[in-house]
Symmetry: C2
Amino acid sequence: MARNGKLSTDPYKGVRDFYPKEQALQQHLFSIMRQVAQSAGYEEYSASLLEPAELYRAKGSENEEIATQQTYTFLDRGDREVTLRPEMTPTVARMVAARRRDLSFPLRWYSIPNVFRYERPQRGRVREHWQLNIDLFGSEHIAADAEIILLAHTLMRAFGATENDFEIRISSRGFLNGLITQHSLSEESTKKLHGLLDRHGKVSSQEEEASLKEIGISPQEFVASVAPKDVVELLTTLKELGCSNARFEPYIVRGFDYYTGLVFEVYDTHPDNNRSLFGGGRYDNLMELFGEETMPAVGFGMGDVTIRDFLEVRSLTPSYTSPIKVYLAVTGEDMVTEAMKIASRLRAQGISAAVDLGDKKLGEQIKSADKKGIPHLIVIGRNEIDSGMVAIRTLATGEEEKIALTSLPSFLKSF
Amino acid sequence: MARNGKLSTDPYKGVRDFYPKEQALQQHLFSIMRQVAQSAGYEEYSASLLEPAELYRAKGSENEEIATQQTYTFLDRGDREVTLRPEMTPTVARMVAARRRDLSFPLRWYSIPNVFRYERPQRGRVREHWQLNIDLFGSEHIAADAEIILLAHTLMRAFGATENDFEIRISSRGFLNGLITQHSLSEESTKKLHGLLDRHGKVSSQEEEASLKEIGISPQEFVASVAPKDVVELLTTLKELGCSNARFEPYIVRGFDYYTGLVFEVYDTHPDNNRSLFGGGRYDNLMELFGEETMPAVGFGMGDVTIRDFLEVRSLTPSYTSPIKVYLAVTGEDMVTEAMKIASRLRAQGISAAVDLGDKKLGEQIKSADKKGIPHLIVIGRNEIDSGMVAIRTLATGEEEKIALTSLPSFLKSF
């Protein structure tokens, strides 16, 4: 809001500014995501965050509520209804459907898009967040589900988490559908059951029990439930491939109704924060929206905000280091061009260097470099240029060493 | 649009889908941008593309036209007016103003945001594009202008362009202001002059001459114009620092009115495409919008679409290479878990590997790997697991070599 005719410096409500330290952390997350995905043979794709609104309005979808109440949807100047994507799955399904005949399967794709939800900002719930999306198209085998869940596991490990820090809880639409058929549940009761399971852990067990009974299901059917065949097979494969912290959990349903098979969620095991970090599952029918034949697909989405919280609580985020290796302070404005020439030679050797432009006194220049966390500093003055010798200072310790300008690159590379 | 009740697979009008090949090229551009910026001591920042609409409605700004006619601006569900940023400069000014007292100067920042314009889609003019923004805050010295222009030069060189491929044309608001004072131009005539210079090269010289005369300026004042002092000093510094393709060009004004000093544009020298690729300049007064004291600032923005066109015309874009180094085909579904174990071990050694999930016949699997451009392939079957020996095939040549599974990592690393 404007104060006294001046503009506010606040960002738009519910979104984040990324100053260099926050951006470095963001890039750290993205870089691990990219590394893990690419190593497993996934190719990166991307798309605009602007999508035709109808993409989120599939008939009968539970997403309808999200589409109509929680998205950013508006008319453009040409009266087209546009939505800022609230999730990436419809987009990736659209892109695969568009080139289905040219793509070769199994198709492994990932992306790290920003997604938007219009909701009340609160901890872990911002209006814009970034979300790694990993999807595997074209295989209906359990091995595909296993690969996707293993990727989630590998990612968590790559972030520095141990198997004790998180747990993978798996269920299957088959289990739920079994219950529905067995009890001949009406559409209404089915919806109720879905909602109830989705709120599991957030309502008291008494309340849950009462609601289950209302639908006609005994709570024992959950407690004593045996893992369905597909989940058992999946758990066996996962174990064989080195993932030991997965288990069957009948309460897992996932909010979206496009899941058709296995569903899973990765839970934080921290006693104070026993919540779902992210999840995914199999969605074999999404291509039908585009008039295409069904296409087996399995994937997950991992949000930056929840992962950041998870890592910060465990001190697993790296501390910020300046991308600048050496700062060239100057004795005066007249030395800036000389300093810039030296910096140029350092950069040609792959050393990141920044030059002070002589707007402040030397003492202030040094303070400023220290504040930025730059490790090394040299002062460039007439003497240094004439003698070809500089004193290189390690800012953390204040130690200085005299070296020839020509040895500067090799000296700095040794750090 | 929906056909027969089915959703279209087209993206929203005027935006692009990035399939893996296009995304790889995009990441290639971004990676060079990051490398050059970081090497010169610039830190990355970022922000949401959602901004309060008022940020683009500074009074009397020529941007007003852009703000009111060419932006995506809408009301959110809480009746806040939101704009999808059409450019990054107001955002970076906002962020610097917000933490001015905590930041240390000179401040070097860069970002690669997507920006939005509601305009008729055409070649090089899409509704969403990405734009490297590089800004240097806190120095009013010519050295700062020189550093920014040198960065533009270094970037072009890093993309593979020679000094003959482009030219840097520089002018100064000082030159223009001199003309305005000398001729005591009214505000209206000043605006006309601005517009005229901005269209230079797009209208006939006769037309331009006539319009200049109307304002009361003789075309000779441009043709015979001598570079102002600041431009001369800048050109000298640039030459000293290895940039030989810059020159004074009085017609350069830049569309935005927030520039206060030197302005520059990088031109394509290709005879068929002699147009501005990107540009920037000095804008010292932008902090005032936020009620802050003036702050010297200089920077530029480089768009992905124009640079891609420039590089494609000169065959300077790299050809796509699959991020996957080896494909593990399987003789049957029963071998997938074994193949996944081998892939796991390869990944632990930093080798990207993808496993076929056995949904297709072996021949089809090999075809699919070849189509994806994956360089190597091995077939995993019962024999291979039992003997510990595999045949590794180079798909481009069809050559095969028998090696032990245990030697696979070192073999693949040799490529």
